[in-house]
């Protein structure tokens, strides 16, 4: 009698997702090389697209002359204030609205009504109220950060495990203890998701505000360079923004790993 032998093969092989580390590194490098090639051959005029090496040289020049630092510091200062104020207010409001039914009843409809307004549309109003100086630009960044922070914190607080809250109460915790020892730690992962979201919004609003009404800052640098057809300087500004975005994301990730230690040990 014939015997059939069926060898078991791994049928999930096509579902595997390897890391492809080399490809990752090459992808970015390849793009830059292609860009350099396109500009070197003169296929595209440097007026429209300066070469990466040219942008790098110009960036180093601007850094050495101190010109870049002036704009960068101005932007960083506005970011820090706007991000700090917006994030703190957002977390505070989010915790209050998530925990206290009364705060939820009062604030939730107001947030629902004001959240969809594109924050940059408020800049003229803010300039009218706070003047053309730093305050209006900081305020527009703070507003942009406030909403994702408040909404994320609220969601985080609502997700707090009722069993843990009851356990804390069973050991004598009152309202403030529950907030401090259960609700806030439970919301932290969502708070950090909000911070990362807010960092992107902050950068966007900062640049927009600096292009509308400012005499310094990366956004101003980009606008002015564009007006003067200084495309290389313009590209330096854009690269700095990209680095700023990557750096803030990385820094928030590092902070998260420290603060939410229990998830990473």
């Amino acid at each position: 009698m014939a015997v059939e032998r069926v060898v078991v093969a791994d049928r999930t092989a096509f579902l595997r997702r390897p890391d492809h580390r080399v490809v990752r590194a090459l992808a970015l490098l390849g793009l830059v090389l292609l860009w350099e090639l396109v500009t070197r051959t003169g296929w595209v005029s440097p007026l429209f697209l300066p070469s990466p090496s040219g942008v790098l040289a110009e960036g180093l020049d601007m850094a050495r002359s101190g010109q870049l630092l002036v704009h960068l510091l101005k932007s960083l200062q506005r970011l820090a204030w706007g991000f700090g104020v917006g994030a703190l207010a957002g977390v505070g409001v989010g915790v209050a609205v998530g925990f206290f039914a009364m705060a939820e009843a009062v604030v939730q409809p107001i947030i629902a009504a004001t959240f969809p307004i594109p924050k940059i549309a408020l800049l003229p109003l803010l300039i009218l109220w706070l003047g053309i100086g730093e305050a209006s630009k900081v305020a527009v960044v703070a507003l942009g950060v406030f909403f994702p922070m408040a909404i994320n914190t609220y969601a985080g607080v609502r997700q707090a495990d009722p069993l843990l809250i009851r356990a804390a109460v069973s050991f004598g915790a009152g309202r403030w203890s529950v907030i401090r020892k259960v609700v806030v730690p439970s919301a932290l992962p969502m708070v950090f998701a909000g911070l990362k979201l807010g960092a992107g919004t902050a950068l966007l609003l900062l640049v927009a505000a600096e292009q509308i009404a400012a005499d310094a800052g990366i956004g101003f640098l980009i606008l002015q360079s564009g007006n003067l057809m200084e495309t290389t300087q313009l590209m330096v500004g854009i690269v700095v923004l990209s680095l700023l975005g990557v750096a803030s994301y990385w820094a928030l990730g590092a902070l998260e790993r420290v603060v939410i230690r229990w998830r990473h040990t």
Partner: protein, 267 residues
């Protein structure tokens, strides 16, 4: 302290707005230093009853009170050990045990001293700095027990504390809990659906009916103490377990056919 449960009833409102009676009318008392098991089929409202006694859920009618000599200091009346452990994932083992002591307002040196004492008692020495997710189920529930013992409550409430553990770990943990109780002699109310567990550990077993939960019978356990594993073959053990199964079998069968009988009636 003595626990007195007097004509306690509990009615939930389900999503359709209908009333669901979880507890009929429940009366019983637990004497000081007594180990009492509250036993019933799934969905009989035994966890609901424990939560009412712990003050974590309001009764619809009736009342619960504790009687005994005035207690010195700030010691709380009850502390609860939860089925799902309910440890704070962001706190280390040590900090989890300290939580109740913080809420009592104990000064820091006394907190650390007491925490160390109860971590030693529950076999957690050497694990103080771990986070709950780094521990096995059995070790996690040891933290739950240490946390409850550390506040030195008059009454210890345990809500199916070992039902989330595997059978071998459960047997070991039952032994350990009995060993601790022999030393501390706290009044214990222990909720379980496991007859062997109830008979092995308790002085008396209060048997609840299926929903609406009412006391079917109170069965005294006439086994000597300290209890040992070998007693599970003792004729008294077997007869008592059989008697309780006889009381509960038809209830459990009816609960099985209930469309939501497999779940605890927490509402």
């Amino acid at each position: 302290m003595r626990i007195i449960v007097e004509r306690v009833t509990k009615t939930f409102h389900d999503r359709g707005g209908r009333d669901v009676v979880a507890l009929g009318q429940v009366d019983f008392a637990v004497q000081p230093q007594e180990f009492v098991a509250l036993l019933g089929p799934s969905g009989c409202g035994k966890s609901t009853l424990l939560n009412i006694i712990a003050g974590l859920l309001p009764a619809s009618a009736g009342r619960v009170y504790f009687e005994g000599e005035p207690r010195p200091g700030r010691a709380p009346v009850t502390a609860t050990v939860f089925q799902e452990f309910a440890l704070f994932p962001w706190r280390t083992v040590r900090a989890n045990v300290e939580l109740g002591l913080e809420e009592l307002g104990l000064p820091s040196p006394e907190r650390s001293e007491r925490t160390r004492r109860y971590l030693d008692m529950t076999g957690l020495a050497g694990f103080e700095s771990r986070y709950p997710h780094q521990l096995s189920g059995g070790m996690r529930q040891r933290v739950g027990i240490a946390r409850a013992l550390a506040v030195e409550p008059a009454v210890l409430l345990l809500d199916e504390p070992f039902s989330a553990l595997d059978a071998q770990t459960r047997t070991l943990m039952m032994d350990e809990l009995l060993g601790i109780w022999e030393r501390t002699r706290q009044t214990i109310l222990y909720v379980t659906h496991n007859i062997q567990e109830a008979v092995f550990m308790a002085d008396r077993v209060i048997v609840l009916s299926r929903r609406p939960g009412e006391v079917l019978d109170v069965v005294p356990i006439k086994l000597s103490r300290p209890r040992r594993e070998g007693q599970q073959g003792d004729p008294v053990f077997v007869q008592t377990a059989d008697r309780i199964w006889g009381l509960i079998k038809s209830q459990a069968q009816a609960a099985l056919l209930d469309h939501d009988g497999g779940r605890e009636g927490e509402g």
